[in-house]
């Protein structure tokens, strides 16, 4: 694969010479794309350039697959913002180079805090990381998506109706992937349709998978890179807030929820509507189950061979079915 990447870099940088790629490793990260870490070196005129890079390639199958250029477009659009995102270099949709579409971006400093690892995933910096986590999410919600050229994202031209558009989308994904009927999931979706949330103050860029494990932090507790934007779209900012506090990846372990929401409000300039947040918490459970349903279908069909996909389908699927039932119990469904 190194040689194929060298050939591609030569194609994209015709003035470069002595191009070399080594230290290529596949890494876990963003299960909806294959992720490779590599080191590249080339000569540009009289200068030797050395870069640590990340290559993200579309998978054969797996979790819900986004548009291949979406994540690249978002990184480019947010490059000038206050958000820590990696710089991107090349987007390639032609499968001739590496069999499937891919893009290349900078390797950020830092490491992910694995939400499922025992002990402290942030090496004693949990509170500082959590404060940055909420501040960045508020900053994202404050950005005018049209001003940064992201109006082409899903729902990008809409002013309202985000809850219904997103619920319809995930309902459809469940229907397409479901092999064992899930009456609890169907019942929760009907509850969501009967009890719509209030409209947001304004449309916002929704990361779509903003949670522990999808950002990098450094030794001093700073967040150095927000990653995995494959499910980014325009919608209600409460969608990201609710996803961030889902108990499967609880940031509230490191900072009380009220403190985190206060930071988000200050950064976004918006007020958290608790009733809306409760609606989006149940929506998050539905969305998570849609993702695990897709994972189960792709592993069951043999399209995916990734162990993390199978584990997600089994363990995470049960977790979110149980969580969804608890949320319905809190709504009085069980009497």
């Amino acid at each position: 694969m190194e040689a194929r990447i060298v050939a591609y870099l030569a194609h994209r940088m015709p003035d470069a010479s002595d191009i070399a790629v080594d230290d290529l490793h596949q890494i876990h990260g963003g299960s909806s794309q294959e992720t490779f870490r590599l080191r590249a070196r080339w000569r540009a005129r009289d200068t030797v350039v050395k870069r640590r890079l990340i290559l993200r390639r579309a998978p054969n199958a797996g979790l819900v697959v986004g548009e291949h250029h979406l994540e690249y477009d978002v990184y480019r659009a947010l490059a000038g913002s206050d958000l820590p995102v990696p710089g991107v270099h090349f987007l390639e949709l032609d499968p001739v180079w590496l069999d499937r579409p891919f893009f290349i971006m900078d390797l950020c400093d830092g490491k992910p805090g694995h939400p499922y690892a025992p002990g402290d995933p942030y090496d004693g910096h949990g509170e500082r990381v959590a404060r940055a986590f909420w501040r960045h999410l508020g900053t994202l919600a404050a950005i005018d998506h049209c001003a940064v050229g992201l109006q082409h994202l899903r729902n990008g031209m809409a002013e309202t109706g985000f809850w219904l558009a997103e619920l319809d989308r995930w309902d459809g994904i469940i229907a397409a992937g479901e092999t064992l009927a899930q009456p609890a999931l169907s019942g929760a979706i009907r509850w969501l349709r009967r009890n719509p949330p209030p409209a947001p103050a304004k449309p916002a860029i929704v990361h779509g998978d903003y949670r522990s494990g999808n950002f990098l932090f450094t030794d001093d507790g700073k967040i150095s890179g927000i990653l995995d934007w494959e499910m980014c779209h325009i919608g209600d900012p409460m969608e990201d807030v609710a996803w961030a506090i889902d108990p499967f990846w609880p940031m509230t372990r490191h900072l009380p929820l009220d403190d985190g929401l206060a930071i988000w409000e200050a950064a976004s300039g918006m007020t958290v509507d608790r009733a809306a947040l409760e609606w989006w918490r149940l929506f998050s459970a539905v969305k998570a189950l849609a993702i695990w349903t897709t994972a189960e279908a792709s592993f069951a069909s043999g399209e995916s061979k990734e162990m993390v996909i199978a584990m997600s389908a089994l363990r995470a699927g049960h977790f979110h079915r149980e969580h969804l039932l608890a949320l319905m119990r809190a709504r009085g469904a069980m009497g």
Binding site: I27, H28, R190, E322, L325
Partner: protein, 140 residues
Amino acid sequence: MILTIETALRGAADILRDRIAPAVDDTFVGETARLAGMLLRMNADWVDDAAAIRVAENAVLRALFADARSVVSDASLAARLAEAAQSGDPGLRVSELDRESNRLRGLLTDLHLHVEASDRSFDQRIWRLLEDFEAARAPR
């Protein structure tokens, strides 16, 4: 002693975790081996009572459908419930039981939709039953 599927899977899982994963230099492949071991262990936990859980669940659904005939006004749905209440599992293979479970759960979804606006008590009974099903199928 009989070498059960459960014991064989646990043995393979232990080898992956204790011998193979630590010996792999490539971090990604080593982690994949460790996850494969976890996957085998989960299935080892499930395999012994997989059929029993499905048989019990399907029986509970058939009993519910029998009770539901008195609260369902729709003739077509009532007929489907009556048929399902009288039905039996087609066999004891897990694949056969899963297909039957999917059929019965699909009918439960239709019943749930029907009663949730008209019979609060029956609606709540269904939600409690769904909690029980999930608890029975929980990874151990």
